[in-house]
């Protein structure tokens, strides 16, 4: 990853640029890609991914994520869901990362990682509850130790370092995996957490889903750094880039990073280069700050059609497979949507009942007031 030389032996091809200066460090960032647009392979698939069943599973999960995403936007547009952050175009990141994780690993997702959460076992019903304005959506039955989504950008990086510290202290072989976007790497918490993880050699994997846009601020206006992966190098943490629209590359890179971390090699960072095909959220209008032409161009990179083209080209996938997958996903999404829409609102006392393990007496009067006020409204 880096080469250090002393004064007597400068690195190959590099010489001091001035008298008295010695080249002391050099760093390289690599980018991984196996399947390019239109399903063309640019490299042989590694053994870990050279498995038709695995590839089909990744594909199915990405399609499920996309259909869920479409449904969530439709629900929001018809007044049945709150503001929602679409993951359109980034499905390979969440699916690839979460598919490589083990159940006991800890996921700390940003607010755009529905794909990863679905793969981890959070139900669509729960995701819709959360985005529909109900805290019970974060009390998911899936991995009970996973974090809820983080809304204040990047403020969950230190939580991931803390979760990784817990793993290290209990001596288990798990890994804390945190996912955040490109904008999050401009925040102090990003560096603070990476730096401490490096010093303490914590079992932490940082995934940067670089979707090129932090609301209206483009990647080039976010940082002058050539890659986001190289930001890890400053903390002494290995960083690499992957084509984030190549589910196989994301999956394999995550798997390899997790293996290295489990073997005690300390934290890792993966920058998954992808593209946000939709608006920032349903409250955003991306046409205010980026051209349709740019978006159209990136549809060519679409992770879902890319993997489908590959699978079809390998004769692993038929039109009939596609048809039955779409029907199955739609039916599942509809069932879960019905369950969400049929879920009654929480009692108002819930505002108080999870504030502390035991509500202090001093707050009982406010709790009673809220209950009575709600009853009064209901009774007219």
């Amino acid at each position: 990853m880096n080469s250090r030389t002393n004064k007597a032996k400068p690195a190959d091809g590099v010489r001091p640029i001035d008298e008295g200066m010695t080249h002391i460090a050099r760093f390289d960032i690599f980018c991984r890609q196996y399947i390019a647009p239109e399903g063309k392979t640019v490299a042989d698939l590694p053994e870990a991914a050279n498995d038709a069943d695995l590839l089909k599973t990744l594909y199915r999960q990405m399609v499920l994520t996309r259909i869920f995403d479409q449904k969530a936007i439709a629900l929001q547009r018809t007044g049945r869901l709150g503001t929602y952050a679409s993951v359109l175009g980034q499905e390979a990141v969440g699916t690839g990362v979460a598919s490589a994780m083990c159940e006991d690993d800890i996921l700390l997702p940003s607010f755009r990682e529905h794909g990863a959460q679905l793969q981890r076992g959070v139900s669509m019903h729960e995701l819709l509850l959360y985005w529909g304005g109900d805290e019970r959506g974060s009390d998911f039955a899936g991995p009970r130790h996973d974090f809820p989504v983080c809304i204040p950008v990047g403020s969950h990086f230190p939580h991931a370092a803390g979760a990784a510290l817990a793993i290290k202290l209990r001596g288990s072989n798990d890994v804390a995996v945190v996912i955040a976007g490109d904008g999050a790497t401009s925040k102090g918490e990003f560096y603070e957490a990476l730096n401490i993880a490096g010093v303490w050699q914590l079992p932490l994997l940082v995934i940067i889903a670089n979707n090129q846009w932090a609301i209206s601020v483009s990647r080039k206006d976010q940082t002058q750094a050539g890659t986001l992966a190289q930001k890890a190098i400053a903390a002494g943490v290995p960083g690499e880039q992957v084509d984030g629209n190549d589910a196989v590359a994301v999956y394999v890179a995550t798997l390899e990073a997790l293996e290295a971390i489990r073997s005690g090699q300390g934290p890792r960072l993966i920058e998954a280069v992808t593209y946000r095909l939709g608006d920032h959220t349903t409250a955003d209008n991306a046409s205010r700050y980026r051209d349709d032409e740019e978006v159209s161009r990136h549809w060519h990179e679409d992770p879902v059609s890319r993997l489908r083209d590959y699978l079809t080209g390998q004769d692993f996938w038929t039109k009939q497979d596609e048809q039955s997958l779409l029907e199955g996903c739609r039916a599942q999404v509809d069932t879960e949507t019905d369950a969400y829409l049929a879920t009654p609102v929480q009692p108002v006392s819930a505002m108080f009942d999870y504030l502390f393990e035991e509500l202090p007496d001093t707050l009982l009067a406010q709790r009673e007031h809220a209950i009575k006020a709600e009853q009064g409204e209901r009774d007219g």
Binding site: I106, L108, E135, R136, S138, D139, F140, R144, H145, F147, P148, P152, S155, H156, F157, P158, H159, A160, A161, G162, A163, A164, L165, A166, I167, L169, R170, A176, G188, E189, E192, A193, N195, I196, V199, W200, A350, Y354, L355, F356, E357, P360, D361, T362, L363
Partner: protein, 329 residues
């Protein structure tokens, strides 16, 4: 360490930390210089040697991450005690306490929780450099889901800190550093907590109620003694847990005396004294014989040490204000 030693507040903090770490191996201490150096005030002195570097962790210099790591590790079954070196450096941490520590239980409907303690020396009066003398308790007391606890003596520091560490929810524990070496008490290392959420009546009286916390408590007790010589009988209440505020004992006392002076070191406007005055107005207005007055610092930036004595209130202002309140009725 003998079971009954005469120690100062700093020693009591250290004793409580050691006791908690001994009793519960999920208890961790983390912060800047807390390990081999034992903290800049020595509050964590000897803990790393006794409990090891895996439980007493020196962090890099990153306050936000110290609190954030505490949130993360607490969510997974540990009880971290995070130290911020001075309250003046605590402001980056408010994001973590407000957006995460205080609401992790609420957000997940009890699935995850955050049994952490954030300790920090706070307040002025020790001639410290710039940004070392702040009193930010009201900022934290405004955050629902958080406890704000402040001790005022070695015994109360020991018992309150143990209670804070064992509490299943996040606690901001502000230590008035001016009292670290101010006086000693016999502190029994018996693991007994001083209960949270219960203000203590430190002195009985019937003319005026003086409500205070932290470093202003000894000042207020001295003021009460002086007032006694003038024939004014002052009751002194140490709030100890500012949030959630249990106003019962405060209002009960005010209903008895009919008069109240709230004393705090922080600036006046939006200070926690305003909340106490409002609670009294809500519950006990008809018992009041005089307006509730406040003795606080000025609404200015805390000055550097040469002017500090003119900024912070003390026994003299407390006595004068109590007299004024007596004269108003």
């Amino acid at each position: 360490m003998s079971a009954m030693a005469e120690i100062d507040m700093l020693g009591a903090v250290n004793l409580a930390l050691a006791r908690a770490m001994q009793d519960d191996e999920t208890t961790l201490v983390l912060g800047e210089d807390v390990g081999i150096n034992g903290g800049v005030f020595r509050a964590t002195d000897g803990l790393q040697a006794r409990f090891g570097a895996t439980r007493v962790l020196d962090t890099p210099l990153a306050e936000c991450a110290i609190a954030g790591i505490a949130v993360g590790v607490a969510s997974q079954g540990f009880r971290p005690i995070a130290e911020i070196q001075f309250a003046g450096f605590i402001y980056p941490v408010i994001d973590q306490m407000l957006n995460h520590a205080s609401r992790l239980r609420t957000r997940t409907r009890g699935r995850l929780s955050c049994p952490m303690v954030l300790r920090a020396p706070y307040g002025g009066g020790v001639h410290a450099p710039e940004h070392h003398s702040e009193s930010p308790e009201a900022l934290f007391a405004h955050i629902p889901g958080l406890r704000v606890v402040i001790p005022s003596s070695p015994c109360r520091a020991y018992g309150l800190l143990l209670a804070a560490i064992r509490n299943p929810d996040p606690v901001v524990f502000l230590e008035p550093k001016r009292l670290y070496h101010a006086f000693k008490e016999e502190v029994a290392d018996d693991g007994q907590e001083v209960p949270l959420d219960e203000p203590a009546c430190l002195r009985q009286g019937h003319d005026v109620t003086l409500v205070t916390w932290g470093a202003m408590t000894p000042e207020t007790l001295r003021a009460a003694e002086q007032l006694e010589t003038e024939g004014i009988s002052a009751e002194v209440i140490d709030v100890m847990t500012l949030s959630p505020l249990n106003d019962e004992p405060i209002c009960a006392s005010v209903e008895k005396t009919g008069r109240c002076v709230v004393v705090h070191e922080a600036a006046r406007t939006g200070g926690f004294g305003a909340e106490i005055a409002a609670r009294i107005a809500d519950r006990s207005l008809t018992f009041l014989l005089a307006p509730v007055h406040r003795v606080t610092s000025y609404d200015t930036v805390i000055p550097l040490p040469r002017l500090e004595a003119h900024y912070m209130p003390g026994q003299k202002q407390i006595v004068e204000t109590a007299r004024e309140v007596m004269e108003l009725s």
